[in-house]
Symmetry: C2
Subunit: 314 residues, 2 copies
Amino acid sequence: MIVVFTGGTGGTKLVQGLQHIVPPEELTVIVNTGDDIEWWGLHVSPDVDSVLYGLAGLLSKERGWGVEDDSFRCLERMKQLGQASWFSLGDLDLATHLTRTMLLRAGKRLSEATAELAAKFGIRARVLPMSDDRVSTMLDTAKGTLTFQEYFVRERHQVEARAVRFEGAENARPAPGVIESIETAEAIVFAPSNPVTSIGPILAVPGVRQALRETKATVAAVSPIIGGEAVSGPAGVLMTMMGWPSTIAGVAKAYEDFLDVLVADRADEAQALTMSTTGLRVLSTNTIMRSIDDKRELAAFVLGACTAQQNVVG
Amino acid sequence: MIVVFTGGTGGTKLVQGLQHIVPPEELTVIVNTGDDIEWWGLHVSPDVDSVLYGLAGLLSKERGWGVEDDSFRCLERMKQLGQASWFSLGDLDLATHLTRTMLLRAGKRLSEATAELAAKFGIRARVLPMSDDRVSTMLDTAKGTLTFQEYFVRERHQVEARAVRFEGAENARPAPGVIESIETAEAIVFAPSNPVTSIGPILAVPGVRQALRETKATVAAVSPIIGGEAVSGPAGVLMTMMGWPSTIAGVAKAYEDFLDVLVADRADEAQALTMSTTGLRVLSTNTIMRSIDDKRELAAFVLGACTAQQNVVG
């Protein structure tokens, strides 16, 4: 079993790559729900949806989020009706949120609702939200306390962030299957997602970090930082805010207590060469995923590195 | 003040006619909510929406319900996700239901949510749902007990109906403004709506029928029955089920305790001529509303008849 930790758009690309080289019944995706949002009265799970749409072949290539060829007629009308419209839900996308919200109101847990949506989308890999309990990523910023979506989408992450907290995390339980999949995995891959706000919430769920420290599986991460900058989004500034370097060393730092392999981009090859220790191998390859071939090759490289590492340790 | 009682598509046409000849601040529309439905987790008020869309100039001319030039992409996706799809909500239409549902969840009453939607749609006439309390029109049929929408839309009213009841009506209170508007109206007009399931629920709200009996206003009704048959929908068969003739005499029977003027179609002129009594004037004119001119002329005819009657009585 291959287990992937992901959140955000870059992460989904690696999940798509893995989907092409791992049989679906051997792929488990653990997804951030810290940036879930109640929007227009609906429960929206942006990172879960990106994974679902990515695996179902429905993800918009142009936007990197939402559904390909979606329309935004309901959104336009909502705007005319004076409703908030800074968070975009497409007309096709809405069906996902309506369905999820109905399932949750009917008493299903988020993991059950996710499994039901995945099945309807024809997805055979296992997609697990990190927790069925509500965890909210909150940022203390120059404009006051913001939810992740307010910071990321509404403010386009142009406001200074001073601290992050994962509200509700201390009492959250990992969703069914999360700990077991970490314990029994052959390899665990951290997608090139923002370590602070995409992966951070998952690691804040009690038991997850411990399970990662204890698992026999090789744990690899693909750096979302290339040449000292995030491929996209605010990973760099948020890492700096955490007191970590916004370099591949910072990524290693974020995962230091359980990481075995760090995959950096070729642009960081020089730094990568200096970083390997007895506890951590740092490798470099092309990590920019523009085409499906890029995604597949990066996925294969990471799995290859995990297998090699497992043999070294074994 | 002109007060209109309405439900369904025929009723909306007369409301549109009245809108053209009565200043908006002098027009109050009291609308059936007995066929409101919880759909995809949203509160849908089909008759209220028809009135809102009709008054806002947004009503689909082709369908007679929903929004002109709407699309149904979300519906198609809902179908693919295995959700019920026999009740059609368009992508633009969805914004109305999302907004109403949010307002209700935030603690607003249906009448407040309706007023807010009306204002957003630029409507200056007053649109009042019959009650803020839930009243559900239920039909006992050959296929068991059905909600109105199950009977009307899902079964296309092709299943035999045996009885009707208005669940919750006995404890429902008229929405704020309903009784007052009946008491202070100059004229009250019953649109050519189904007397059983469009107007019946409004009359079942305690206090409404009494206020109609006591008002000094002339009460007129336009017959939804022409030549012994409903212009559209199941009004005829439901009137027969109630033990009323499915003729203009049946319409007079439905409203017998408060009706002053019945406006029938020219097709029923012969019967109309025999029906006038000291308590009821029965007039005939063209009641088929195909064009906006038809709507305006019928509205003017009804108001003219009310004014004449008021003078006779006065």
